[in-house]
Subunit: 235 residues, 2 copies
């Protein structure tokens, strides 16, 4: 039924968004003394979106946006020493341990004999490479691909390069926007496994998801039984 | 003689280091009012080297290092507004036009019918992708590869993935450290075309280059006649 099963990495194989949320909370605490009322964090998202076309995804762009936000919301009152702290947040994010989601290792081990497994992630090349290395999972995948963005065009180019038929390609990930919709648009199949929290930018309105045929699972450990069922139904 | 000719991009196909140098000069002018004596820029390199294992290569890491250096050398006296200026430098670097070196387009056109041409660059994925797009050269290459670093190990992995025999692989670039020595170590061949200025980190001591067999050309336009000579000598 499928030749290739590809997995997203951040928030599909390992925890990631929580690290961004914790860092944003640290930024809020750092800025509190310079603000007359508590900061909600809203401006950061606006700055990130404004900077996306210059910086792309990943920790370094996020950090530059945090610094810019800190200057904006404090109207320049934030001292250099505190901005140095924000750069230290980035170094801590970039060297923090990679925590796998429950069940990931067993699932990859179960599927490896029957499918060609791929990892497809987006973001900063250097950051993603070091995370893959720290995850200990690199050897589990026949191919690892780091994209600057996940769109139908970038998936199409990847499938062509790897000579994969879309109809025999299954993508597994937590983001409707990056992992599910662009793959369905190419005639591929997709499994959505929501993470407990989703970055606003990766969320899609429910009407955008409507009318598309994909499967939602609550946990990656449900993937092997789901595949076995598909296989049985096909016989 | 060669199946594949691969080109480095920054300072081989288009100007790059000059943009970093101009930005560093802008930083020096920005900091001057906060310093009792002129700043030589030396500390920036030390901060960049310290941050390399966290941030990797590219404009965003360079910018975080510029901000950190600005805070350090002014002992935190630099105001937020000026730090915002440094982030603006980054946006300008990331959106500045890509200026091709003289002769690049003709050379690629001359070689395209006889060789499989590749582009192999290192640095930030998003930044390099947008530069390749802005250069207008993407269509000239059968394959484009963006690496986080250029070492014998990363070249070896690439040659294996692309099923290229090292002995039939020629790399062309301006950096002894990134383009020449790691390729020679694998049994490949290399052409060094120095750019008028080289980032300290990419320089190698002359004894490291000694004993290695590679060709140095002054200008990329000398590449097609050099290849023709090799071909004639082989007959």
């Amino acid at each position: 039924m499928f030749d290739v099963i590809a997995f997203d990495a951040d928030d599909t194989l390992w925890h990631n968004e929580t690290l961004y949320e914790q860092t944003q909370e640290r930024l809020q605490r750092l800025l509190a003394p310079y603000l007359s009322r508590p900061w909600t964090g809203q401006e950061l998202y606006a700055v990130e979106m404004r900077n996306l076309r210059y910086f792309g995804y990943g920790v370094k762009g996020f950090t530059l946006s945090m610094i810019e936000t800190a200057i904006e919301v404090t109207e320049g009152r934030i001292p250099g020493r505190e901005i140095g702290q924000i750069i230290e947040f980035a170094r801590e994010m970039l060297s923090s341990p990679v925590e796998l989601l429950d069940g990931v290792e067993e699932v990859l081990e179960t599927l490896a004999p029957s499918y060609r497994l791929m990892l497809i992630t987006k973001g900063d090349l250097f950051d993603q490479e070091t995370k893959i290395a720290r995850s200990g999972l690199a050897e589990r995948f026949a191919h690892v691909e780091i994209l600057s963005d996940k769109t139908s065009a970038t998936y199409q180019a990847l499938l062509t390069r790897q000579r994969i038929t879309p109809q025999r390609f299954l993508m597994v990930g937590n983001s409707m926007r990056s992992d599910i919709l662009p793959v369905l648009a190419l005639g591929g199949q997709a499994i959505h496994i929501p993470y407990h929290t989703t970055w606003l930018h990766e969320q899609v309105a429910s009407h955008e998801a409507e009318g598309h045929s994909y499967t939602e699972l609550a946990d990656i450990r449900q993937l092997p039984p789901w595949l076995a069922e598909q296989h049985a139904a096909e016989q």
